[in-house]
Amino acid sequence: MKFKSLMHKVIGSLALLPLIPSLAHAFQAAPAARADYNGWTPHQHWDEVWHETMLDITILGVVFAIVTFAFMIMYRRKGHGERGKMPKLSAQAKVGWVVIPCMLFLGDDLFLYVKGFDLHNHLRNVPADAAEVKLTGTMWNWNYVDANGIDTDNELVVPVGKPVVLRMQSEDVLHSHYMNRYRLTEDLMPGRVTWEWFMPDQLGESVVTCREYCGTMHSGMYGKIKVVTQDEYDAYVAEQTASVPAGTAVASADKF
């Protein structure tokens, strides 16, 4: 092979490569698409796909490990002069040992991809009746303002059974809003609005943490999501809106 000229061609074609990362910017993040809520709680769906994937890779790993262990035990060196007896592969066998495994791997990849695709669509299509909450991250605080103008720090109170979508932006550096129970993470940044939605299906509190490194107190940037019954929620709204002057709340909710 004439390596030099081949190499020169390959390297010449590098000139096109910088185009690739710039593609990422041709489009900004798509706005949330709305869809009817299909009744399946997204974090349960997540758990399902997670277990499926873990099972899959466990089987693959165990098979690989068992075969390797078997070889390790079966083929120990017996005598000093002994050599390996790798059979010579025929041309077909050589190709076969590439194509068949690749097909199997690809099959499994596609299987997992479809599962993930489904879940992705579930997580990225906001139900039409989702309640809007504006979330602003700052070092090191989560600020929630809901549709009623209730403005809270590090605690979000929502009624059970109604989907919620968070519209998020950061005022300083990157943060990442992770809701432990709902298995969802999305970054917040200055200059763009990002979003995530979840389904509060069970009463009680769950932890929220920051998952993008944001300085000294990154690990102190946590809060909670409190899910209450509709009655409790109505009472909460009444109490909060009474104590907050209407003007300021609307103003801060308007920020986006």
């Binding site: 798509a30 997580l123 995530e196 300085g215």
Partner: protein, 559 residues
């Protein structure tokens, strides 16, 4: 008999004798040793930082520091120095410089002076990084250095970060050009492309990846300093810049970078597996092509590090697919490794213990990449200990164990002496067990929601899984610490007082660095140029023709 650096005729070891010969050296073997020293020193420093972190994380609440900045400094040093100061120099410095030219039968690297400059650039980078521990305003923005945080005062000395990356990047690029020319043009007579040891193929391919992608990383961090200190606005949305640009540029390099680390360390595994089993590498040519396939496939998957960063959905879905595709070449490599043992004749030498353990960890680490690769699953585990555990298994543990396997493997050539066999095996076992105890529980903690880069986790104080996992992980660290310390002791002991190597080829390799040994010290690797006879192959253990030497010019005309 003799170390690679050879012995003087009177039996003294053939290392350079004077300080000048060491420091101003132009010889690739000596330069390789400098790389190795730098890499091991980095491992020690970064490992001590890891130990401090683990002790801090052992229980809820402050243990040895209550200052977030100090913890963040440790973590930054740990990540950056392990990757940039330890693994890349060990693989693309030590293995590439010390082993590859000899393995291809060349007399040196293509450009010895450029080679020397590269190693001193590396040392500059290491010294810059170490300075971070003592300067005021130290950099604490992690090895990823994301803006806007890195543009704030809180992040400390961003210029230092940029320079560390750029200086090491220059070192890598010059090194990569050099190595590519060495492999392309300096192979000995008779050695075709498909007669190169897989270590050479892997290092070569890794260097091509470096050539393509390092510059993008350099660009991304240079822009950081331009923004912060000279008032540019590439990442500043207020003047029309874009914060996400950095993540795209950074991972456009840093994802391929994981294969820059992976390929050479798998190359070492191939070498040791084949030699220990005295067996041909399974489906050698397909293996080579799988290695090459990493170049294109790795170039379009960087978004999997930014699934949750607010990039468009179509891009996440697209790169979920391309990321999954890596399992094809990767799977073939694993198949070849296991296949190499098939009907082999395995001898469990010290290096083989390390390599086998590394392979086991690779299975775990690589497969745990798959859940992360599914964008929708990643929403639940991104930046958690699940990710942390994934990359420690594949990169930190499998990678380090392979590198150490390589050091033990080539040790007789480096020093002319053998390491204590019992200690070699005991430390392998200790490191393996220790790191499993460190990283196994942390995977479970990650599933429970434990985020990365947290100095404390009081919000999870009532989660028994997380608290116990952190506790056990720290116990595992103590085992690892002792094993790592003993490993270094084993090397030092071996180099100073080890048994003299009685054979030039203690493991029975067929590769040139063992079979065509120079017995003369000094510049140049072989007394006269090597020739690979027809039918020679590095993994032919049955009837391989012996490498030959050109007749000495002194006996046949002039030079």
């Amino acid at each position: 008999m003799s170390g690679f650096m050879g012995h003087e005729p009177d039996g003294r070891p053939g290392q350079p004798k004077t300080v000048k010969e060491w420091v101003f050296t132009l010889d690739h073997k000596v330069i390789g040793v400098w790389y190795l020293i730098g890499a091991i020193a980095s491992f020690v420093v970064a490992g001590l930082a890891a130990s401090a972190m683990r002790i801090e994380l052992g229980s809820v609440g402050p243990d040895i520091t209550d200052n977030g900045d100090i913890y963040n400094l440790w973590l930054t040093m740990h990540g950056a120095v392990m990757v940039l100061g330890f693994q890349i120099p060990a693989l693309l410095g030590f293995v590439a410089n010390w082993a590859v030219p000899i393995m291809v039968g060349g007399k040196d690297m293509a450009f010895p002076r450029v080679n020397a400059m590269s190693v001193w650039l590396l040392w500059s980078g290491i010294l810059l990084a170490l300075a971070n521990l003592v300067i005021p305003d130290s950099w604490n923005g992690m090895w990823t250095g994301y803006p806007p945080y890195s543009l704030t005062d809180g992040a400390g000395n961003t210029a230092l970060y940029s320079f560390i990356v750029v200086v090491l990047g220059m070192s890598s690029v010059f090194g990569a050009v050099n190595l590519a020319c060495t492999v392309a043009f300096m192979r000995c007579k008779g050695m075709g492309w498909f007669q190169m040891p897989l270590t050479v193929w892997c290092v070569f391919t890794a260097n091509v990846i470096q050539l393509i992608f390092v510059p993008v990383l350099a660009a991304s961090v240079i822009l950081l300093s331009l923004d912060k200190y000279l008032g540019f606005g590439f990442y500043n949305p207020e003047v029309g810049g874009d914060v996400l640009l950095y993540q795209n540029l950074f991972w456009f390099y840093s994802h391929p970078a994981v294969y820059v680390i992976l390929l050479p360390f798998m190359g070492i595994m191939f070498e040791i597996f084949a030699v220990s089993a005295r067996n041909d590498v399974f489906n050698y040519k397909a293996t080579v092509w799988s290695v090459i396939a990493f170049i294109p496939v790795s170039s379009d998957v960087w978004v999997h590090h930014a699934y949750v960063a607010g990039l468009p959905d179509w891009l996440r879905l697209l790169q979920t697919f391309t990321t999954l595709l890596i399992s094809l070449p990767f799977g073939l490599l694993m198949l070849s490794l296991t296949g190499t043992l098939f009907r082999g004749s395995i001898r469990y030498t010290g290096p083989m213990w390390w390599a086998m353990a590394a392979f086991m960890m690779l299975i775990i680490g690589a497969l745990t990449g798959i859940p992360n690769a599914l964008s929708a699953v990643d929403y639940g585990i991104s930046d958690s200990y699940v990710i942390m555990s994934h990359f420690h298994y594949v990169m930190a543990v499998s990678g380090s164990m392979s590198i150490f396997a390589g050091v033990f493997f080539w040790f007789p050539k480096l020093s002319g002496r053998m390491c204590n066999e019992f200690l070699t095996k005991a430390t392998a076992a200790g490191f393996f067990v220790g790191m499993n105890i460190v990283m196994g529980p942390l995977y479970l903690a990650g599933i429970e929601g434990m985020p990365r880069r947290y100095m404390d986790y009081q919000m999870f104080a009532d989660n028994a899984t997380i608290v116990d996992a952190q506790h056990w992980s720290t116990i595992g660290l103590y085992i690892t610490f002792v094993s790592a310390l003993l490993t270094i002791v084993t090397w030092l002991h071996g180099a100073i007082a080890g048994e003299k190597a009685t054979s030039a080829n203690p493991w029975g390799s067929e590769s040139l660095e063992f079979t065509a040994t120079a017995i003369i010290p000094g510049q140049g690797n072989f007394p006269t140029p090597v020739i690979c006879p027809e039918g020679w192959h590095p993994y032919n253990f049955i009837d391989n023709p012996k490498p030959q030497f050109e007749p000495h010019p002194g006996t046949s005309g002039h030079h």
